[in-house]
């Protein structure tokens, strides 16, 4: 007992050092070109790749807060990313609508980004109060519907969003800035999730996932907890959306509200392990680089690889990589769904 304990502790401590070293390496990567513009340790395109990876890690971790920890599998989480992108974009850019107040245009990036996140969070509270009452697949479908409806709404409200023509943001070409910004976001979100998991609030989220009726009967206000987790995730995804919009300098409904963005979050979290802290990080890293390699070598077939990978996860590693390592409080999509079907088949419907 004591031997295993100290071994676990040593592994834990070692893991922490490896993590710290990794973060330092990532911090140092673009340093030469920040100090001397002509010197480059890595190419700009590699920095860009890392930036995209950090964005995916952050999004997958956010998704994991509701999907993995709380067990509400959200198929429309990209709606919050989109709201953040448009919130930031409208405040920084110049909407075509003449009635749009002058003081709400041409903002600085930072306040615009913050408001973008707030917009996503407020929308999460509103939509969550309705959709979080639904269970299992009903919730997933309702959120997918929300996502599609929001994309069309953005397309229709042309005076404000530019509709299909899109909005242009003030251009900025500073790869290291976005690299550091997204790296910071990824570290912040992972640290936040690690901390939440260690608080009572984090445990209640898992309790809700494991047995919502039991949690409610034991005095936990499940609705309040679910909505809180939901808006925290939405706020953070809104921030990522804002950063993405600024980096991209142009947004329109079809590049912001991409359905595969949510599917990416689900898949990456599933591969790493639903409801674990390291899971989304591992999953996002693996899938991002795998996609990079496969895409550049087998352009025509690259999506087949992902499909096969998904089938392999579902069949052989239902709780992801962290599940295979054992001892995690994570779960799998199949287990969540089975739980739901069992609870509905036992439930007698009152008339």
């Amino acid at each position: 007992m004591a031997a295993t304990l100290s071994l676990t502790w040593r592994r834990y401590a070692l893991g922490r050092w490896v993590l710290l070293l990794l973060v330092f390496l990532l911090l140092a990567l673009p340093l030469p070109q920040v100090l001397i513009p002509e010197r480059r340790l890595v190419t700009d395109s590699l920095l860009f790749s890392f930036t995209q990876m950090f964005i995916l890690i952050t999004l997958a971790s956010n998704w994991n807060l509701t999907g993995g920890l709380t067990g509400y599998v959200d198929f429309g989480h990209a709606v919050f990313f989109g709201l953040g992108a448009y919130g930031t974009g409208i405040l920084m850019g110049q909407p075509p609508w003449e009635l749009w107040p002058e003081m709400l245009t041409g903002w600085n990036f930072w306040p615009a980004l913050f408001i973008g996140g707030i917009v996503a969070a407020i929308f999460a509270v509103l939509i969550g109060s309705a959709t979080l009452r639904l269970k299992g697949p009903y919730f997933s479908i309702a959120m997918l519907g929300t996502f599609v409806a929001m994309r069309e709404l953005v397309r229709v409200v042309r005076p404000l969003t530019g509709g299909g023509v899109g909005l242009t943001l003030p251009p900025v070409l500073n790869r290291p800035l976005f690299y550091y910004l997204t790296l910071f976001m990824a570290c912040l979100v992972v640290a936040l999730m690690w901390w939440i998991r260690r608080t009572e609030f984090g445990s209640t989220l898992i309790a809700i996932r494991e047995d919502e009726v039991g949690a409610e009967m034991r005095g936990i206000n499940t609705t309040l907890h679910k909505i809180t987790a939901f808006w925290i995730a939405a706020f953070l995804s809104g921030l990522v959306g804002g950063i993405w919009a600024y980096q991209n300098t142009y947004i329109d409904p079809d590049i912001v509200f991409v359905p595969t963005r949510t599917i990416d979050m689900v898949m990456m979290t599933m591969l790493g392990g639903l409801g674990t802290i390291a899971g989304p990080v591992i999953g996002a890293t693996i899938i991002y680089w795998l996609r990079d390699v496969v895409w550049s070598n087998f352009l025509l077939y690259h999506q087949i690889f992902e499909g096969v990978l998904l089938i392999i996860i579902v069949l052989f590693a239902s709780e992801g990589i962290m599940g295979l390592l054992g001892g995690s409080s994570g779960t799998g999509l199949g287990r969540l769904m089975r739980k739901w079907f069992r609870s509905t088949s036992n439930r007698k419907q009152p008339v």
Partner: protein
Amino acid sequence: MSNHNNGQEPLLEGRSVSKNFGGLAALHNVDFVLYPGEIAGLIGPNGSGKTTLFDCLSRVQDITAGQVFFKGVEITRKKPYQVAHMGLARTFQVIRVYPKLTVLENMLLSRQWRGEGLLSQLRPSHPDTEERARQLIDFLLLDHLIDERAGNLSGGQQRLLEIGMALMPDPDLILLDEATSGINPTLIEAIKDRIRQLNKEQGKTFLLIEHNIQFIADLCSRVFVLNYGEKLAEGTPDEIAENEAVIEAYFGT
């Protein structure tokens, strides 16, 4: 003993509680009163509506008609967590523990909640809560499993854990739904002693659903019998044992 509650305010009261599932009347006009400080039993053949009555009284299910009062306050429309805050705890016939959390975490989450803000939950559990959880885990002889995930425990151990989770918030009323099924006889005796002790020393009220008639006879001062969703009889265990309607319901004629 059954008369000592005269003039006392009921702790839990159901007035003409009815519950329909589609065309099936699971409960029909059941009147039910529980006084503070009693240990009462609820028995009846399978499918007689015992668990449904439990679910209706503890607000896990909405009732079709009637009213439920707890401590003199109507709780017919209250949320289950609000009823829990008022001091009602229960176990379930189908075990409801959190399988992926450890035994200790399960206990910690069953602490007394009083509707405090979310901000106060952004920290690990309070040391006093943990102390209480550890004591209860020791009592239930689960101390060697304290860091084990609840899903890895045997059925009997999970049931013990659930009893611990019901005791954890220090409630005034505890509803135990078939709490002794699958638990070994020595431990049943220990649980019996614990129930008696909590009842005598702290005045806790218990309502037990049991198929273990000996358990009921040893503990309860009053027994309710349900059959086909209606109250068939009510009285001391001895009275119930001699009641012909009850005997007929259980054994047929």
